[in-house]
Symmetry: C2
Subunit: 331 residues, 2 copies
């Protein structure tokens, strides 16, 4: 299961098998969010994701909404505005048509909110016991947001780490929604399009944007470890600046989970040059849903390839990528 | 299961639920193969398909090869040349890594043969019993082939029906590969890219091409019934002109299946204006793998919205779309 968790085992699978055999560049970096390619004289961003979240519906969202927002967000953090999408459903025989219809409606609503057009799709049905209700795959294409260039190699010491809002809401919501845990909390998935925040950021601070990512599976720690590795620098986080709801903190303490490893579906992290940091933060905070954005850290030279957290008690700790899978099928 | 079979129930699902809620146009026609959209000043064709074929490997191909060729072909019959692709895997926990690697290699080989670049992807892992080995979804973008316009509304009485080669190889191969049938034949899936044939056709006869489709799930009869409905005319086939291997004919007779309903994964059917019909046939026949192409019928005014077959015994029969699902998970 850990090969699908978005952490170390996933990265090994990508680097060891998929990238060398499948990717033109032979580089795993291109698998990150969305590829920007030249076609017919235009630059088009292109991405895909499969969604296998369990349960299909959870507080604050559902698989259909997730499938639209996830692809919009992958495009957004690559510096592109989603334009069109295609979708496939793998349905388990016997799935109630009302369940399918609810997800199609959820997708329709999310598409409208994101201003994206669905242009095609496919449906397959497999026998009972060969899927879990439904799996949805979306692929999206988009156009580059002018002036935005996302590239880990442009990150420099002194750059700031900007986070769009509280972490862990999605992962902990899913955890609590699973019948096998006897915990309750007033918590909702953060699933949403981050495009409005990124467009506001770009409008005010495009030249200052070095790198962006939506910290989904594997959480903030995994995204930032990938960045640290790709830029060869250190990402230093200030724990007490990282926004987090009490419910998330409490559940993580109870269950022995690191909130930095918990999945998010409506947040993004950006590395911004120091002179643009305040403008960038302000731009996001002034956008609907961005008021909890914070600068949570900075880039250092040392220790290279590493994410370090300055704890609230004055110490420091190194945070690795996610290892293993504390919570399968989170998205 | 019939909702995934590509026939009448699939069409009802698309027309009743997906098209009105999800598709911008509200029209199911756009779901057919690939959408052609304007983005960044370019026209880009965009398509997706999920693959759930069982078994994963079969004589002549495997799920990975199918996933690449299927998307290349969907673009090709829409009048576009595949440029880039993205892929997602839904893997069942416990799948042998050698099985996954074999499919990644099969995809890599098919990509090279098709001259297409893989630019990104995603992997999800689900628990044992929640998938069947692996499901693969590909999405592809491509550029229009100059001068080719595929539109059922341009089809006219007198147009010719051109088929690229023998029908039924893929479906019957899968049928025989299933352990539950005690039949054997020297038969192989026809999975391949049809792009070289379509490029040759376009080079010689682009102005004569009215419509194209790859008759996969639901077979030639379903594709041509969709055409008959979309153009409001009659598609008349001459049974003895339809190329078919003896093994396919024999298996269909034995099992009570209509070969016109059997899936193909390496053929296409084109409607060509009469003055270009011979040039078009010749162009395909001179292409590698196209020597068995035939003109198999013509378009008539009546009976409208219907596919009629002139049988080898001098009679005629009406062939409907596939109803039900004689062979689930064919692709």
């Amino acid at each position: 299961m850990s090969h699908g968790a978005g952490g170390k085992a996933s990265r090994r699978l990508v680097e060891g098998l998929f990238a060398p055999l499948l990717l033109s560049s032979g580089s795993s970096e291109r698998l990150a969010d969305a590829a920007h390619i030249e076609i017919g004289g235009a630059t088009v961003a292109f991405t895909t994701d499969s969604f296998v979240v369990r349960p299909l519906r959870f507080p604050g969202g559902s698989i259909g909404e997730l499938a639209v927002n996830g692809t919009v967000n992958d495009l957004a953090v690559s510096g592109a505005k989603a334009h069109s999408m295609v979708v496939t459903f793998v349905l388990e025989e016997g799935l109630a048509s009302s369940v399918l219809e609810a997800e199609v409606r959820a997708m329709s609503d999310a598409l409208k909110r994101a201003g994206v057009t669905m242009v095609g799709g496919d449906t397959k049905v497999v026998e009972r016991g060969k899927a879990d209700g439904m799996y949805i795959t979306t692929a999206g294409i988009g156009s580059p947001i002018p002036g935005v260039h996302v590239d880990a190699r442009t990150v420099r010491p002194g750059d700031k780490v900007l986070l769009s809002g509280p972490i862990g809401d999605h992962g902990i919501t899913i955890l609590l929604a699973r019948a096998d845990l006897d915990l309750e909390a007033d918590l909702y998935s953060d699933t949403r399009s981050v495009l409005p925040m990124i467009e506001a950021l770009a409008a005010q601070a495009a030249p200052g944007i070095r790198w962006m990512r939506d910290p989904t599976r594997g959480g903030l720690a995994t995204s930032l470890n990938e960045l640290a590795r790709d830029c060869g620098l250190s990402v230093e986080l200030n724990e007490e600046e990282i926004p987090m709801r009490d419910e998330v903190r409490g559940a993580c303490e109870l269950l022995g989970l690191d909130p930095l490893h918990i999945a998010n579906e409506g947040q993004f992290v950006a590395i911004v040059s120091p002179e643009f940091a305040d403008i960038a933060l302000n731009a996001i905070q002034l956008t609907d849903g961005g008021d909890e954005a914070r600068i949570i850290g900075q880039i250092r030279n040392e220790p290279a390839n590493t994410v370090v957290v300055n704890t609230r008690y004055g110490g420091t700790r190194i945070v690795d990528m996610l290892v293993g899978d504390p919570l399968p099928r989170i998205c």
